[in-house]
Symmetry: C2
Subunit: 500 residues, 2 copies
């Protein structure tokens, strides 16, 4: 079989790999949403074992020969199979670049560091994190070097490439540079304008969890989420997991503030709809995976920021919010709720940031993680550099490191190279949504009636259904006429926050 | 490493196998308790792949040599390691006996048959099940033949051995023979006595699910279930799954009848406590597994039937039931509740049967599955043979096959040889509970205060903590002074149902 049809043999192997990875994904969801606390070591052992098995499948000794022989015969493959083979090669390059002792060292260092980080954050004690974070940085440098050699890129780009295939920092520098000259000025003007208009009225709680859950589920359904292929549950840190046929989204509820949890659900629903819309025939092959984190984040932000914080949608949602909690009065008008959902203010915490200041948080992290990886910034100097960056970019300085450089899990857990994809996603979201509105003139009117079918159909055809068939830029060019840029994002912010 | 220490290499491999099996166990639980309906094919693919991986680990080409070489050096092993090696051999014999095409044929036939069975049961249409059940029977005969050759037993005993290691039908015939001469007469006397006393008063519902859940969880905790290592959820068919560090028990609630769901929870809690009590140092090795289904069922029935349907426990539980549902009056006395929980009557459905008639249901299935496997009973004649057996054993005849030979999933899903372990478990439960009471004179008094600590400590020392170190009979001899017998079970039934 290997001799006769190497491509078919590869499909067989990658389908098996996919099954193992999908199993791990459900177990990961369970760990965050269901697992009792005492089972964490048991679960870590299961996941580590499945990880070793998956690694062994990709890094099998005969894989290079199989890939090469399939590539020699690739002219006979249709576009999906050709792209699938390209994705197989990509996965193989990333996986085989790392010797197994380095894979193990990374797992060990990041697991240990994550534990220390939880305590360090609680106590706002950066010094206690320093030794373990140093180990993670050292191991991530080794990972980056190994992948850089295999990919022929810089160390940072090699790390970035895992999250955003084909992503390069030269391009990010350019895009972020454009935002850097634009955002601070915009922020000042928005703040001034909102100060003049006065604070929105506060929504009076409490908001019982069960009503929040029902409202969230109703809205989730409206957006097109299919509960025969997914669930909505609770976890400490909201995320989207599971598989394309079994999407698990999570949120957390605060009885004092339903508005955040609700937008959180709509954000994760955007991620979930991407997964549910992946090409049905290719779900168990590499080409059937989501393209990368920039497009993934674009789908969550398109739903949350572009569609669901719009006047049109909030006019539809406001009476449903009033009904859900039995409320009324001036705080509960669509206009006031829209003002709450578009309030802008610099803050310390990234995950609480509005869409105007969020990119500034990202630029800070992008700048700092590159400096740490290159050795330009000593780890011990991180808190100072963080605070200086916050003053520079946002004009505020956190009172302690818990509200500063200890706030995110990404560095302790090895997610170096991940941060920029948040803002690439925000830009792509604006660009895609603008294109969808051009293509479907009735789109906003439908959203104003709670009907997301036209939007979802456009996204399925132009993004979701493509899986990893094309590069992020190809997807954007075909869907919007342009590769990723800042224009649509800037226009969106100016329209929403400075006009009307 | 293989060359130097074959036993250590085996431990390493079986730990990895355990991790894969534990992962499958959580995914199985999720399938019944959490998974959205549309994901069943996706999940089946994950579980089949993990099954193939696990099979490949045990049936690895060098495994026979590794096992033989470890056995040659076994004199140097302590008792746990020696027993572990014996269990490894046992698993290998069972797994390697089946060629992989037979494993696949079994999976395919049982999956397909289970689907057909659900419809056939709904429509009480045995004929529609006949072709698929015939395929399952054929494949199970092949499985039995292959295992019989490997184990040197009869076909039936080879199937039984998978569920009850060392279990043999000659022994079961003997034990069931003793019950066969005892139970019908006892049943007559109990029925007469209960008829004279009149029906217990009905408990007046409805009983909201949330209160049922809380009461169940409270009682589960009382029995000693540790919720930092387990969960209680809902599924269509209650079961205990997960791992020894992460036990997942399920129940189902009926708002018209809390009493059944509650006993169901206590039953599964008994299974769960066994898992939670398995030897801590050996949980990821074969010797750390539960001994077999007879002892497993003994632990659920010991809790449900022996401890929790006792006067002592129900006197403790009755006021808590009243408080849980805000009830009072003559139906809610401990005495009336005890009468409800010890009501005896022949019925059609095994899972609804009381502890007096339950063994008669089992004897029928044991008799019929042996006859079908040997060819003495044609599948097409099953409904007639079933109804005749019901008249013979229980004096009643089901009006249709849904209440007759279609009621259980075990034959469609390939669980041939499983049924007798239910009654072996009931006998072992009585024998162990009597021994525990002798060993701990204050046991019933403690249970009367809702304190299960003395009972649990005795079970941990005498059953749970032994894992698979000894055979079922060895465990019973050491704990009770005797191998498995009918005396304690008979005495228990006579005491509970004919005296006092």
């Amino acid at each position: 079989m290997i001799a006769n049809d190497p491509y078919a043999e590869l499909e067989r192997r990658f389908a098996r790999l996919s099954a193992v990875n999908r199993a791990s994904s459900i177990l990961n969801w369970d760990r965050s949403a269901m697992m009792p606390s005492g089972a964490s070591e048991d679960r870590a052992d299961q996941l580590a074992t499945l990880g070793v098995i998956a690694h062994g499948m990709i890094a099998a000794p005969d894989m290079p020969e199989l890939l090469s022989r399939a590539e020699e015969g690739a002219t006979g493959l249709d576009q999906w199979r050709a792209a699938n083979l390209r994705e197989m090669r990509r996965l193989w390059v990333h996986e085989s670049a790392l010797p197994s002792d380095l894979v193990e060292a990374r797992t060990r260092a990041t697991s240990a560091c994550e534990m220390v980080w939880r305590e360090a954050k609680k106590n706002a004690d950066f010094k206690s994190l320093l030794p373990m974070l140093g180990e993670v940085l050292a191991v991530m440098r080794r990972v980056g070097e190994a992948k850089a050699a295999a990919l022929g890129t810089s160390l940072y780009d090699a790390l970035l490439d895992e999250f955003e295939p084909g992503g390069r920092s030269a391009r990010i520098d350019e895009l972020f540079g454009e935002l850097r000259t634009f955002l601070p000025d915009l922020l000042g003007r928005v703040m001034e304008r909102q100060a003049k208009a006065g604070k929105p009225l506060a929504l009076d709680g409490p908001f019982p969890v069960e009503q929040q859950r029902k409202l969230g589920e109703e809205m989730c359904r409206r957006l097109g989420f299919d509960f025969t292929h997914g669930r909505l549950d609770v976890s400490a840190h909201p995320f989207t997991g599971g598989t394309a046929d079994d999407v698990r989204i999570t949120t957390r509820y605060d009885e004092a503030d339903f508005a955040r949890a609700l937008m959180g659900v709509l954000h994760e629903t955007g991620h979930g709809l991407y997964e549910l819309g992946l090409p049905r025939d290719w779900r168990r092959q590499p080409v059937g995976n989501a393209r990368g984190m920039a497009l993934h984040e674009s789908q969550s932000l398109l739903m949350e920021m572009q569609a669901c914080r719009s006047d049109a949608f909030l006019a539809f949602a406001a009476p449903r919010m009033r009904a859900a909690f039995g409320k009324d009065g001036p705080a509960w008008t669509a206009d006031n709720i829209h003002r709450i959902y578009t309030r802008v203010a610099p803050g310390y915490i990234r995950v609480d940031a509005d869409e105007v200041t969020y990119p500034l948080h990202i630029m800070l992290r992008y700048r700092l993680e590159r400096a740490m990886l290159s050795g330009d910034l000593e780890l011990a100097d991180l808190p100072g550099a963080w605070n200086e960056g916050m003053r520079d970019l946002l004009g505020i300085e956190p009172p302690d490191d818990a509200l500063g450089c200890l706030q995110d899990i990404h560095w302790p857990d090895g997610g170096w190279g991940y941060f920029p994809t948040y803002t690439l996603g925000a830009m792509a979201a604006a660009q895609l949504f603008a294109a969808a509105r051009r293509a479907e003139p009735g789109l906003m009117e439908a959203i104003g009636k709670g009907d997301f079918a036209p939007l979802l159909a456009w996204l399925r055809a132009n993004v979701h259904g493509k899986g990893s068939l094309e590069s992020t830029d190809q997807v954007l060019v075909e869907a919007t006429g342009d590769r990723l840029g800042t224009a649509a994002f800037k226009a969106h912010l100016e329209t929403r926050y400075l006009s009307a």
